[in-house]
Symmetry: C2
Subunit: 112 residues, 2 copies
DNA sequence: TGTTGATGTAATCGATCGATCACAACAATG
DNA sequence: CATTGTTGTGATCGATCGATTACATCAACA
């Protein structure tokens, strides 16, 4: 299968700012204006301007989902540590040292 | 390659309900209680109970992100339709033949 | 210079969030 | 039956959301 690999650009979402950057980058790649995307997504241009700029963590899920959809983006979730994800290998895991401990912690809680 | 397929647990996020299901499933896979996860994520158990049950689209991004993180989940975004709307023609206006009819494409996708 | 287009900004307003505390339902266990 | 643990619920409260409308800035262009 590996259909996912064909898309090419895969971006890790770890914070609101990440989503903001992804949205803005994607919009620009598509050559769309903020007004265009806002209308497509059914959100106010004001919101898009704000979110692209600051990526507020208080933004509502539904609003973001609509924009994601309007930009023809797909979002996937998967276990972070236990798996060696080749797709995300573009970025070195060294960026997230803390996640390793968390995994061990969770595992310990589970098995005892 | 398709190393990603080995995880077996890649879930597409297309709606708030999807996230709710992912969170609940992941939590149970980890053998954690709602209280455990809530405390880890720094959210109220009340919120987790509600969100797992209904997956409200009004949930705030930051809250969800904290839970996602507490559950050791990774989230990735990538272009959905495989359209090669490419960075190559990004600079060119809509007049450029190199650009895909994203407008029509998106409209079709959204409008149904 | 004047026009067009994209982007960023302000003030306000109804609606909803998420936190908190206590309790009820339910299962499992002794 | 009594206890323990997990989950779901109610009511309330401060804080924030997102929409709206109009204007300012900046760049491109004839």
């Amino acid at each position: 299968m590996c259909t996912i690999a064909h898309t090419g650009t895969i971006m890790r979402i770890a914070s609101a700012s990440d989503i903001a950057a992804i949205i803005r980058g994607r919009r620009q790649d598509l050559g769309l204006t903020q007004g265009e995307v806002a209308q497509r997504a059914g959100v106010s241009r004001r919101w898009l301007v704000n979110f692209e700029a600051s990526g507020s963590t208080h933004a509502e899920l539904g609003t973001i989902l609509r924009v994601i959809d309007a930009l023809d983006l797909a979002v996937d979730a998967h276990p972070q540590s236990g798996a060696s994800l080749a797709v995300a290998s573009a970025k070195a895991p060294a960026d997230d040292p803390g996640t390793v401990d968390l995994d061990a912690l969770l595992d310990g809680l589970r098995g005892g």
